[in-house]
Structure formats: structure tokens, C-alpha cells
């Protein structure tokens, strides 16, 4: 615990030198600092009524808040305690109160798990249980373990670090920033050291995932659907603080989905993927079947299914090519040759 008295009697300059991230804290708290050599105590004793209103807190409350901020940031930077090597989901009940049809599911970092089931079957509840690190205290009564232990409560409440990052179809960029400005902003909030390098890598990876290239100076709000998705995935893979990524469908347009998953898994994330698309579902190592609010089955993707996935990809390519031909005004021709190729492969 940082001593509050010590903070009160330190100059702003000393505090920022020791805890560099407090610079934005002073700014966001709207503390009127005219001279950084002054101590917090001195600054507070000289505030006008209007300046007091701006900062809201008195000296004591401000020092409390500052000390909490420093503690949060130290926790945020101490990555070690938040490595999730293994996530376990212990069985609970379905909507009728019947025990789920499995005992315990272990998911390791770098694994892809597909989640399938009709709409409204309980996919969001499963995800919410994971996000809340449920301990029998949700409607399903499931229990979540991280690295074989009951997880720290911080996963539930901290603003800085959430357990699950989400990527879904209806997400958009809303900030008016260029690609590079946007990546820098995200990197700054993560307080990483090698910012320029990381930002450049995300930019490169995103362009490799995207069907059509985009530039550093492009406005993020003007990117195409595929480009946006590519940037979101590369950014989440490399810069998100969350060890688990939930993907809600990746539309098969303008983005290389297989590469996208490889990138996420390569960053040692756990990938959960809710999908109705057989190609995507078979990219998973396992799939969870959800029905009536509970897990009905857990199926390992078989070798035959992996081969099927290759066939589906050929089929998918045929369809994509046909769509392109259609779009560019070409005449379409029969595809029996391609289909025969699949059969013989």
C-alpha cells in the first residue's frame, strides 16, 4: 500500500517520476496544477472554489483515489498473475434443472472451441458464466476455475482487465481516428514499452488478414466490413488484455478466417467461437453443443471432419469465385469440374 501521507507531501513531479502513468491521472482528474514542483498538499491549499469544484475531491479523498489508481496500475502491469493457461467449466444445470451431460471441460490456451446450438439455447449464458467466473451463483450454477483454482474476484470488477474480449458482427469503429492513431491510443492505454513496434505489427497482420489492403492513414470509420474485422481481430489478438476471446460468427467476406484464428491462437489466447457455419465450427479442436440452457455434448473434431473441412473450403472457394464473377459482370459456367476435383481429392 502506498502511503497517503507520503503522496500528499510529494511534489507532482516526484509522483510522476516514480509512477509515470499518473500523468494522465492528474489530467483526467482535472486538478489545476500550475507548478509541478509543488506538493499535492500545497496545490490543494491554493485551489480556488471553482477549481475545487472541478476536482470534486478534497485532499484526503484525492490522495485515496491516487493511491487506488497506482495500485490498479501496478496490478495491471503485473501480467504474471493473470496468465490463463487453463480454463475449466464445471457442469451445472440446464433450464429444467437437470444436470448437464458432462462433468468438467478443460480448455487450454491456444485452443479453439466452437459453440453450436439454436438461437436462444444458452450460448450467451455460457459466455456470461465464464466472464463472471461463476461460482454456482448464476442461474446455471456452473463453476469456473482458472489454472485449477477459484479465480480472483478482480476478474469481475476491474475496469482495466476483463477475462473475455468479444468480437461480433455488429461491432463498428466509432472514433474519428486514423488506423495508426487508433492503434496508438489503444497501445497507450495498455502502457506497453515497445509501442511503435507493436502498432506496426498489428497494422501488418491486419493487412494480411484483409482481402483488400488499407493504409496507415485511412480513417477507421471508413474501412470496409472485411477491413474493419481484420483490424479488430489483429488488434484484439496482439493488444487486448483479455486472455479469452469470444467470436460471434466471422462472416466469410473480405477476410481470411483461418489466418485470423491462427493469429489469435498464436498469441496463446483461448478462442471460443459461436457459429452456425460448418467451416468455422470445424476449425475448432472441440465443439460444445448447447441445448435448452445446458451443455448437451462436447465433441472432439475428428480426423474425418478435418478432411471434410478441407472439402468445404474448396466448395466455399468455388462459391466465392462465382460471386466475384457475378459482381464483375462475367458469364457464369458450370462447376462440375471443380466438384469432381473435390471428390477425387
Amino acid at each position: 500500500m502506498i502511503s497517503k501521507d507520503k503522496l500528499k507531501n510529494s511534489s507532482i513531479k516526484e509522483i510522476i517520476e516514480e509512477y509515470p502513468y499518473t500523468e494522465s491521472f492528474f489530467e483526467d482528474q482535472k486538478l489545476a496544477v500550475d507548478d509541478k514542483e509543488k506538493t499535492l498538499k500545497e496545490i490543494f491549499s491554493e485551489l480556488t472554489i471553482e477549481e475545487m469544484e472541478d476536482v470534486v475531491f478534497d485532499l484526503d479523498q484525492f490522495a485515496d483515489s491516487l493511491s487506488s489508481h497506482i495500485r490498479n496500475m501496478q496490478e495491471f502491469l503485473g501480467e504474471n498473475d493473470s496468465i490463463v493457461a487453463k480454463l475449466s467449466i464445471l457442469a451445472g444445470n440446464n433450464k429444467d434443472g437437470e444436470k448437464e451431460n458432462y462433468e468438467k471441460l478443460d480448455i487450454h490456451s491456444g485452443e479453439i472451441i466452437s459453440i453450436v446450438g439454436p438461437t436462444g439455447s444458452g450460448k450467451s449464458r455460457l459466455l456470461a458464466d465464464i466472464e463472471w467466473t461463476a461460482q454456482g451463483d448464476t442461474p446455471t450454477e456452473r463453476q469456473i476455475l482458472i489454472n485449477d483454482e477459484v479465480p480472483d474476484k478482480k476478474w469481475r470488477f476491474t475496469g482495466g482487465k476483463k477475462l473475455v474480449a468479444q468480437l461480433s458482427q455488429n461491432m463498428n469503429f466509432v472514433m474519428d481516428l486514423s488506423v495508426i492513431e487508433f492503434l496508438n491510443l489503444h497501445a497507450e492505454s495498455r502502457l506497453i514499452d515497445n509501442q511503435a513496434e507493436v502498432v506496426e505489427r498489428i497494422f501488418r497482420e491486419a493487412n494480411q488478414l484483409a482481402g483488400e489492403q488499407f493504409g496507415r492513414e485511412a480513417q477507421i470509420t471508413s474501412l470496409s466490413g472485411g477491413q474493419s474485422r481484420a483490424l479488430m481481430i489483429a488488434d484484439t489478438a496482439i493488444l487486448s488484455s483479455s486472455p479469452i476471446i469470444l467470436i460471434d460468427e466471422i462472416e466469410n467476406a473480405g477476410i481470411d478466417r483461418e489466418k485470423a484464428l491462427e493469429l489469435l491462437v498464436g498469441e496463446e489466447k483461448i478462442v471460443l467461437m459461436a457459429t452456425h457455419d460448418p467451416i468455422l465450427a470445424l476449425m475448432g479442436d472441440k465443439r460444445i453443443i448447447i441445448n435448452n440452457g445446458g451443455i448437451k455434448d462436447i465433441i472432439d473434431t475428428t480426423a474425418e471432419e478435418k478432411e471434410l473441412m478441407q472439402e468445404l473450403k474448396v466448395l466455399d472457394k468455388v462459391l466465392t469465385d462465382l460471386r466475384d464473377d457475378l459482381r464483375y459482370g462475367k458469364n457464369l459456367s458450370r462447376i462440375s469440374e471443380e466438384l469432381a476435383e473435390i471428390k477425387s481429392a
Binding site: D64, S68, A128, T138, K162, M171, L185, M232
Partner: protein, 231 residues
């Protein structure tokens, strides 16, 4: 009875979150009522009524809704007790960025949305800074990175708050949030004698009180002058 105060910028999702949360709380067999404080107009009471929630509204007119809130909260608490509520929720329009309706020892919740821009946390002052729980909404429509940046800004402005994501449309996160609202051991019979968390700027300017004429001689009370400088 438990009392919980909600505040947050206009359209941030307060009503949506409260409604989804009430759904979850009703499962525990608890009786919940809401009082909405606003300035000139609100149809939130209709939404609550439709959901079968006992509701009252109070409009502050030309007054700051938070000042109006403090002058009426005791009566509102008595209204809730007469109706045998287990949980009384107040929803305040966060229209005044210099005030907040939060009371010491009464749970205070700020609802803020991902679309409002990353400078909003720093702009809305006491309503965010002195809240116990900050609920962030509309995470379904912005990117993961924007959500992370926004949440980190919220935490910088209020490092002690619990920060939660709740979706006002789908209700994702509402069950979890609802478990934090009601406490069996809490009993509020009156708020008389309790104190506000943050003293509201008392002196208002002449324009708050209805002055319409422009000019130095009409500027009374709390007047601040713009610094234009020489540049």
C-alpha cells in the same frame, strides 16, 4: 427497504439497464419500485409502468435536477416504504455535470455508454467520480479496443469503482449486476440526517434563476469569465 441511486448522462441506457436488472431481481421474489427525476420531460415512467413496476416521476423544471432530487428524496423514500418495496431505485437524468445525487452510505451507480466518446468520463465529474459501481453500456456496437480504452478512462477517473459491462438491449451482464444491488441486511427507513457525497455548487448564476438580459450588470452569483488571452 434498500435504496439505490442511479445517475448518468442522457440516453446512456439507465432505464434499459434498470429494467433488465429488475427482471433478474424479481426472480428472487423482491418488490421493486422506481422514481425518475428529470428536468423538463420524460416518458420513462411509461416504460416502467408497462413492465409492471410501481413508478413516480418528478420534473425539476428550470432547476438543476440534482438540487431538486435532494429536496425531495425523503418524501420519495416514504413513498417507497408505504408501498412495501424491498428495493427503491431512483433514476436521475445526469444533466448537470457539476452535481451528483449520490448520498453517503447509499449505493450509487453511474451508467455511461461506450458511444459517448472517450473524453466523457473526465467531463462528467462528480456523477462518475463518486459512484460505487460504474455500468458501461452499448458494448455490443463498438470495437473491443474502444471498449478497453473507454473502460480504462473510467477507471482513471474513478479508481475505486467496480466497473461492469451491461448490455441494455440483450440484458447481458444484468443478472450479475443485480446480485450487487440488493442486500438483505440493509434497511433504510429515512434519509433524513444523511449527507450528500459531494456538496453541490451552491451559488447559481442569475441565468439559472430566469434572467434573460445580457450584460455585465445582470450577471450575479457564480459567474466565471472566459480567458481569451492575447494570442
Amino acid at each position: 427497504m434498500n435504496l439505490v441511486t442511479f445517475s448518468g448522462p442522457p440516453s446512456s441506457g439507465k432505464t434499459a439497464v434498470i429494467l433488465k436488472t429488475i427482471e433478474a431481481i424479481k426472480q428472487q421474489g423482491l418488490k421493486v419500485g422506481v422514481v425518475k427525476f428529470d428536468c423538463l420531460y420524460t416518458d420513462d415512467d411509461e416504460l416502467y409502468r408497462k413492465a409492471g413496476v410501481p413508478v413516480k416521476k418528478g420534473l425539476s423544471g428550470s432547476l438543476c435536477p440534482d438540487h431538486y432530487f435532494v429536496s425531495n428524496i425523503e418524501e420519495v423514500v416514504q413513498w417507497g416504504r408505504e408501498r412495501d418495496l424491498d428495493l427503491l431505485i431512483t433514476e436521475s437524468a445526469g444533466l448537470c455535470n457539476r452535481c451528483s445525487p449520490y448520498i453517503k452510505d447509499i449505493k450509487a451507480i453511474c451508467v455511461i455508454d461506450n458511444l459517448s466518446g472517450i473524453n466523457t468520463p473526465k467531463k462528467i465529474g462528480p456523477m462518475l467520480k463518486t459512484a460505487d459501481i460504474v455500468v458501461i453500456t452499448k458494448g455490443d456496437i463498438v470495437s473491443q479496443a474502444e471498449r478497453e480504452v473507454f473502460a480504462s478512462r473510467v477507471s482513471t477517473v474513478n479508481p475505486d469503482a467496480m466497473v461492469m459491462n451491461v448490455n441494455g438491449l440483450t440484458g447481458q451482464g444484468a443478472f450479475e449486476f443485480s446480485t450487487l444491488l440488493y442486500d438483505q441486511d440493509d434497511h433504510i427507513d429515512t434519509v433524513t440526517g444523511k449527507k450528500l457525497r459531494f456538496s453541490m455548487p451552491s451559488a447559481m448564476c442569475s441565468y439559472c434563476l430566469g434572467e434573460t438580459r445580457i450584460g455585465e450588470e445582470h450577471q450575479l452569483g457564480n459567474v466565471r469569465k472566459i480567458e481569451l488571452g492575447d494570442e
